[in-house]
Symmetry: C2
Subunit: 460 residues, 2 copies
């Protein structure tokens, strides 16, 4: 579909403009096709380092003229092959566009470039009493987080990227630089173009500026943990928490295997049964009230004690199992690779979905610990396989299909926060059917030459 | 652009299918072009009463074949001429599609048809301990509220329609019935089609089912009021409230003229100076803590007392000025019509924007009380004019233009919650420029015959 000569012509023109800011070095190209999971790498033909929106506009104009694919690159922490160059072309490295342009304390917002990472932003904000809450685990770039509609452990309280962005600047395939909104807290001005670009995975345009919402750093943060005899008991407690309107900031579930892995990896002595980890934000009185309410609810579903604290060090200790979860999982099978799954279901179906999934894995001899952002009904199994075990890899692929179908059948989604990328194109069709046709119509009308991250979201 | 003969052919075909559920009676057509404000009525050629998604699909197929305009009608409470038949055609009355299909208590969601009104839904939910928070004032249909991205007094805590809808069923111009999402609390599955239809004002498709988020009815509701010497003092208090992260449920501002109007209309004796009305939701302890924090903040900006209560009757009395605000305004000029404005600015600019607007109105002899959802930076001036006063009507049109420009120049929007409709098409261009081209591309690709509510959002 894409002509090698066209790509090479585009690179020649780009070289004239960008000189040493364009490279064809293999190591750099490899780095820019980096995925955190098992996707096979597909290298771009060249990498250009953008320094401004105008750079991005110039690159897109050139690539559009030459029908050359373009993929935006942040830090490469996405999980569904989003930065792979499925059809070759140009990777635009956005990391030099990492300025924090404005912090508006009174309005609780900031204007930033897309290469700013969440840790960088929060470090910068530290003395302002404000913070940006979305935390997907990795120290991802905010541009990438917007492009994949990321969320993470505290979405139950603070929402996802779609809830924390007021406006975007986007460079369109024809090179035009547009603004999708303003700094107003709400607007009914035409179609919601901000939300259209959030989660579009670089297939419609490249985000070159973000106006993000900030939140006040809570006066107190309390953290706690509580073990439960079964997944169902833990999920029932979560449902009550949500129903009672307790404004938990985080509520995470580890299954028994994950707890076991954490005990081994981090030298902990937690009971090897399902564990809820909870965090409360608020005033001293409010977190105490929340913790008390949670304790009351938990005691109806478990005999284990709910332990909590507002002391920062002790809180870190209690939450150690969660922080080390990924590496603890990997330690279960030294040398293994993992395949992250990401379904999300209505919470009334969560326990059933997790249990059926556990049985499915046992039946197929798949080893996979599980962690869940259970306040949202979102959970991740992390099936492990040795890289050369083709049979297990196939078993995991089949399992992943069944898991998606199970979630969709329960009124849920194949992806809560990782996106479609290359890995879930067929599941997207299963989930939304004809709606995908209309997504494709938007894609075609904005990007008639299909240069924007081709091979993602849509089955070709 | 639209052929009268085509429209008449479409009506003939529709008559065959819908019989007495189609009417061409003038009184019904007038009702379906009803606007709450001063827009001149433009009647549809016929009204069809839909009973099901399949009905809507059939109507759209017929109308698309005959290139006949289609306008969805809820209760007619929109303010920018959204239901006017600018090019004639068919009004589809959605009021018979008013079933509540599911209430999922454990998941805090409900599946409803678009003709369900917010009061109907909350009445139905009363015994469940849950409620749907968005309150635009009018007892609007949820379908209409979604189509205009409505919000209202409690958006500062609960967000707008865009934040409270999980998924939609939509009938597309070609008659296909699509689903934009699932009951999962979050999703990264492709483009955010749910948010694209929310606020699309019936120009892309017709919403035939909504999956909405519900919230727990708060254990306690506290209401309070406090007078301030100046708008600036009131706004500064609001900024502190937001910065301190006090989770106010509502925080409304009336200007001195509005308070004066309320005193006269409702027999109140409030000091005739800017007034903040506040509502807190939470547990007994939490609302008390919030009220105390608010009182501390207020005392730094006013010498007036902050009066609050959790007693339902007393709370209604305190808030009476707000509830009667619209009719109190109208009583300032008996026989007058009003023109509602709807700008929204970053709250750091709110006091300045309101003050400059007040001076502008005084300079041009415009009488207009003001109410504001100030937690969001959104405020409404309600300029009054006698229906036959062409000079004042022109003055108000010019004023409205300047107000929009002022808000946009301050980083805000020409519409916080009313939408574009027929009234703000030029302002939308001022605000978002080339972005509107891309909105139009979506419109053209979904609706090549431009049958969906033509003459709205886009300047023709």
């Amino acid at each position: 579909m894409f002509d090698k000569q066209n790509i090479s012509d585009a690179i020649s023109v780009l070289k004239q403009q960008f000189g040493e800011r364009l490279t064809e070095a293999t190591s750099v190209r490899q780095h820019h096709a980096q995925s955190t999971t098992r996707m096979a790498q597909q290298l771009p033909d060249a990498v250009v380092f953008a320094h401004s929106s105008q750079d991005v506009s110039d690159i897109l104009k050139i690539c559009n003229r030459h029908k050359c694919p373009v993929i935006a690159f942040g830090i490469g922490s996405s999980l569904e092959g989003h930065v792979n160059a499925a059809h070759g072309g140009i990777s635009i490295d956005m990391n030099n566009m990492n300025s924090i342009l404005q912090v508006n304390n009174e309005d609780l917002d900031a204007v930033i470039q897309p290469g700013v990472t969440r840790e960088q932003l929060n470090e910068y904000l530290r003395d302002s009493g404000l913070f940006f809450p979305i935390d997907p685990g990795a120290n991802a770039s905010l541009g990438g987080m917007a492009a994949t509609r990321a969320s993470g452990t505290n979405a139950v309280r603070y929402g996802t990227m779609k809830d924390n962005i007021l406006a975007l600047e986007v460079v369109m395939p024809d090179g035009r630089i547009i603004r999708t909104g303003t700094r107003a807290r709400k607007s009914s001005a035409g179609y919601d173009m901000t939300r259209l670009f959030i989660g579009s995975e670089g297939t419609l345009g490249i985000i070159t500026e973000l106006t993000v919402k900030l939140h006040g750093i809570p006066e107190k943060i309390a953290g706690g943990i509580c073990s439960f005899p079964t997944i169902k008991a833990a999920c029932d407690a979560v449902i009550s928490v949500i129903q009672f309107g307790i404004p938990v900031a985080r509520i995470e579930l580890l299954d028994a295997l994950q707890v076991k892995a954490c005990n081994g990896y981090s030298g902990l002595t937690l009971p090897e049964e399902p564990l809820l980890l909870i965090e409360f934000h608020g005033t001293e009185a409010s977190v105490a009230e929340q913790a008390e309410s949670f304790g009351d609810i938990a005691s109806e579903h478990t005999e284990s004690e709910f332990v909590w604290t507002t002391n920062t060090e002790e809180r870190s200790k209690l939450w150690k199992a969660r922080h080390d979860a990924y590496w603890a999982s990997m330690s279960l099978m030294p040398g293994a690779v993992s395949v992250s799954t990401d379904v999300c279901v209505p919470i009334s179906r969560l326990a059933e979905c997790v249990e059926l999934t556990r049985i499915d894995m046992e039946e197929h001899g798949i080893m996979s610990p599980m962690v869940g952002h259970v306040g949202d009904g979102n959970f991740h199994c992390l099936p492990l396989t040795m890289p050369d075990d083709d049979k297990m890899q196939q078993a995991i692929t089949d399992f992943s299909k069944r898991l998606s179908k199970r979630a969709i059948d329960m009124g849920g989604t194949c992806t809560g926060e990782h996106g479609i990328g290359q890995g879930k194109q067929a599941y997207l069709l299963d989930e939304l059917g004809d709606t995908v046709d209309f997504m494709r119509q938007i894609k075609t009308s904005f990007d008639p030459n299909n240069i924007m991250n081709p091979g993602k979201i849509f089955l070709s």
